[in-house]
Every structure is written in structure tokens, then in C-alpha cells.
Symmetry: C2
Subunit: 158 residues, 2 copies
């Protein structure tokens, strides 16, 4: 027996879809205009910048950015061509290549971060009360934790 969404649930579901389509689109457009980079490419640089030695194994980077390996590989090609990332082979394990943030990539992040943060504030954080934003984060954590692939699976299953 199908449990259809009732009218209120339908409304919530539509609002969720709209926000999840419109917000990344706006943030990505703001980043493209101000820094010439997409949101998902930017997120890769952020993850590298926050890692020890500013580098991550490709498999860990795929997990951190929730990207497929093939999509990530294309993104890293693009970021390498831009001079923001270097690939470093891993001597022991061919599959264990690293992506490393270059000094140019770091400078780029330092320069573009203020505009990006302002865009995140303008379009999300400051549109809500602090309590609403905290509640949004709490609820999204419940949803994402349940969906996140089991830790270590990537290493064990490939």
C-alpha cells in the first residue's frame, strides 16, 4: 500500500527541491562571475586547503566531496590545467595518487573566499535566523549521515 505524501508533506518536499536547485545554482553563478570557477571545483580546493600538507588521496577527496571517481578525475584535470592542483603519484600504490593544492591554488582561494562567504551569507545564512540556520544544519546532518557511504568502504571495496 503506497503511503503518498499528503498536501503538507508535498509542500515541504517541493520547497526542499526548489532550495536545493536554486541555491547551488546561485552560489555557482556568483563564483563564476567573481572568480571564474564552479562551486564544485571550488569545494575541491577548500577540502585540499584544510588537509595536512594541503593534499589528499584521490579516493579520500572523492569521499570528502561526495563525487564519483570519474567526475572527480575530470575536475582535477581542469584544476591542474588552471595551475591550482598538482597530481602526485603514490610510489607504493598506483591507485593511491594524491591531489595537492599548489601555492597558486592557495592564493586563489585566499583571494576568492571573501566573495564566496559573502554569497553564502547573502543567500542562505543571513536569510534565516541563527536558530533556523542551526536547525537546518541539524536536520540536514540527520539526513546526510544516514545516506553517507560507510566509512572505509572505498578502501575495502575497490
Amino acid at each position: 500500500m503506497t503511503r503518498w505524501l499528503d498536501a503538507d508533506e508535498q509542500r515541504s518536499w517541493r520547497a526542499w527541491i526548489a532550495a536545493t536547485l536554486l541555491l547551488p545554482d546561485r552560489l555557482s553563478r556568483d563564483l563564476q562571475e567573481s572568480a571564474g570557477i564552479s562551486l564544485s571545483d571550488y569545494e575541491i580546493l577548500v577540502h585540499l586547503s584544510e588537509s595536512p600538507d594541503r593534499r589528499l588521496r584521490m579516493s579520500d577527496l572523492a569521499e570528502a566531496t561526495l563525487s564519483s571517481r570519474s567526475r572527480l578525475s575530470h575536475q582535477i584535470d581542469r584544476l591542474t590545467a588552471a595551475g591550482f592542483v598538482d597530481r602526485q603519484p603514490c610510489s607504493e600504490d598506483r591507485r593511491g595518487a594524491f591531489a595537492v593544492l599548489t601555492p597558486a591554488g592557495w592564493d586563489f582561494l585566499v583571494e576568492s573566499a571573501p566573495v564566496h562567504v559573502a554569497s553564502v551569507r547573502d543567500n542562505l545564512v543571513d536569510v534565516l535566523t541563527p536558530e533556523e540556520f542551526a536547525e537546518l544544519g541539524r536536520i540536514c546532518a540527520i539526513v546526510s549521515e544516514r545516506l553517507r557511504p560507510a566509512a572505509g568502504c572505498d578502501a575495502d571495496c575497490t
Copy 2:
């Protein structure tokens, strides 16, 4: 002066990003497995099914699905090839073409909807309390209403 995100805001922001990447990915994979269609193509059929005469102008469909015109055009090509959608020209206005849900498209929706709703429940609605899901919808509505393009702009600006 840049107002950086503090640690709590950063955590909420990361949870939002994770949920908005993981959930559509899961729903789309469930739809692909059960019905051989992506979530965004499926959403087009839903919007058509809910419209008078099961048809919409391409410009209205683009607005409803928050899709760019060029992306939507590719999707409609795919759905037409599958036999789920027909294009109908508009005699008065070349730009005013319609997309129409075919009987086969309607049957496909009727058949695949129960599995899709179950997936939405399993991965979002039933993971939360009714209060949390309602609050998520309320907050997303605030965010999306602010981001939504002004109504009628598409007609006035093209």
C-alpha cells in the same frame, strides 16, 4: 571586513552541502534502478501530469523545474524519444511551443510513482519526525522564495 562562518555555522553549511549532494544522488539512483529514468527527467513528467491537459509551455516548464532552457530542451528530446512526451508547436508564437505528457508517459508515471514515493520516504520524510520535516520545508521555502526568479521575467526578458 569578511564575516567568516564560525565553527557552528561551518558545521551547518557542511551538513547542508552533504544532504543536498547525497539525497538527489540516492533518489536518482533508486529511480534509475527501478524505472530507468533520472530524478530531473522524472520531475518533468510530474510537472506535466499536474498541469491542465497535461501540457505546459516550454518556458513555464523551465520555470517550474528550475531548469535552463537549453538543458530542458535536451531533456525533452530524451523524453520524446522514450515516447513519454510530445512537442506541440504553438501556431501564434514560435517560442511558445508546448510539451505534452503522452498516455505512455502517464502510464509510466502511474507505474513508477509508488517506488519513487517509497524512496523519498525512506531517505528523507521518515528519517525525520513530522515536525522536523515540516520545519525543513518551512526553512527551505524561505530560502527558495528569495532565490526564485521574479515571476514573469522569463516572458518579459527573452
